[in-house]
Symmetry: C2
Subunit: 304 residues, 2 copies
């Protein structure tokens, strides 16, 4: 996939038409691209409407695992954007689909270090999840003769962003991975930090995943970006060749890499975690095809 | 330090006399060597008494950071072993000493992801600690316009085992390391798991340290075993050359490596996390000079 690429171009009124004309489906990351925390980024709805009016397929691909597709659709609607559940590919959904395509036995259980979205997607896919928010209030007793019990039927541990992370969950997940034969260790993603609120960044799933790597000394299977796992679904569902897709995101090491690995066009927006100096620094070797300040520039440059 | 070493020998009545005669100071790990959780391992007091009666210096070097030296001395006494605070080198003490020898400014503060022992050692060394157990009950609000504030005067984050780990502490430590210029990231140790109770292992400091590595994408300064930092203190205090020391421990990658890196003799006991098959497996390249089932074998083999 390491084909020679031209230099990164600033999106402009000269090249935006070619980009939009050559693409059939736009894949958008959400945090830092569509919104920051719960605040919509300026001009997004109008831009999405314009792209839809031109017959473009729109897909939303987010590493945030705290919500299910259903919950994401609700969030979009609450921000005034009409999006179908089928257009949303979140890493909670990816985790459930990974188990499904790998014929994970229905009689086995899945322990979740993460939030509601993962449990909901597991249930929709027909799996039994344990843990998650429910274990957020549990405490441990480091006392003599106290044995911490875990279910031997757990065959996979899914780790995502968990704002209720605690020692109980860390011990539960660690015991399953270390002691249940063949137990899978699945990470929704490894983002170090993310804009969980509009004003600042917070530790991301990469923090919780690393904690379990630290205690188990094992590496996870990653199902979110930049892993190619979700792309297979997209391609199958939308029947668009990757060369006619454009991945729009704010992160070089997840969004842009995800798009490039699949052979998509890529557009970095500077409305999220990546600054222009970081992008253009010689030490950065992940170079998108295009970059611009924000999604709305697509509209602004096309229809000045 | 990678001098050629002979094969690992099982401790026996043939070689135990030479070992004891050639050593002036025995360095003991604690968890899995002296005790498991709160249960003393059989025959330890008698063995320590015998070694003291032969004029050997005894030193206790533990990566467990939850207690201070004072609290460890209390634990030894409660188990019927008389040990002086000065003979105890725990990683909580190591963290405070690291700041001291590096002239960490007194006006700066230290944020602690860890337990009481670290805070106590920091205070004894004249530093101001924040966080620790006190932050174990704090929660975060991922709400719009909520800004998580952190002290800009924090100049070091110390991470150790923390059974009250939560998202508040992870965000606090991450913000200090990412945003306070020059802020140090100090790990008491990186043990994956440890015998926090007698019946089973639990995630160790390596779990919390990895979490902060995951969110900050930085690597810590490690002050506990196998880092050589503590050895400098030992050598200075006890005025014994490393070749006349024997490190006794249950972990290959911390205890035995720590001893070998300094040029000490090493004795692995199988009463903790390492099994004989693991020790003798061809994939293991950390080979102690001697190994035996438990500390009391030194006494049993010397005085059958």
């Amino acid at each position: 996939m390491d084909v020679a690429r031209g230099a990164t171009q600033l999106l402009s009124s000269q090249n935006v038409g070619d980009l939009v004309d050559s693409v059939e489906a736009f894949l958008f990351d959400c945090d830092g691209v569509i919104w920051k925390g719960d605040a919509l980024i300026d001009g997004v709805p109008q831009t999405l409407d314009m792209l839809r009016s031109k017959g473009k397929k729109l897909v939303f691909v987010t590493n945030n695992s705290t919500k299910s597709r259903r919950q994401y659709a609700k969030k979009f609607h609450s921000l005034g954007i009409s999006v179908n559940e089928d257009e949303i590919f979140c890493s909670s959904f990816a985790a459930a689909m990974f188990l499904k395509v790998n014929n994970f036995p229905r009689e086995k259980k899945v322990y979740v270090i993460g939030e509601e979205g993962i449990l909901e997607e597991l249930e929709l896919a027909g799996f039994t999840g344990l843990g998650g928010p429910e274990d957020g209030k549990k405490t441990v007793q480091l006392k003599p003769n106290c044995l911490f019990e875990h279910e031997k039927t757990v065959g996979a541990v899914v780790v995502g962003l968990d704002q209720y992370i605690n020692y109980y969950k860390l011990q539960y997940g660690t015991l399953c991975i270390r002691e249940n034969p063949g137990c899978l260790f699945i990470a929704t993603n490894r983002d170090a930090v993310g804009h969980m609120t509009d004003l600042q960044e917070w530790p991301g799933a990469g923090c919780m995943v690393a904690a379990i790597c630290g205690s188990t000394q094992k590496e996870p299977i990653v199902v979110g970006k930049p892993s190619p796992f979700l792309m297979d679904f997209l391609v199958q569902k939308f029947q668009v060749s990757c060369s006619k897709m454009c991945m729009v995101g704010d992160r070089l090491d997840t969004d842009i890499l995800f798009g490039q690995n699949a052979g998509c066009k890529t557009l970095l927006v500077l409305s999220g975690v990546t600054s222009q100096p970081t992008l253009l620094d010689p030490s950065n070797n992940i170079k998108p095809d295009y970059y611009t300040n924000k999604v709305a520039d697509i509209l602004g440059l096309l229809e000045p």
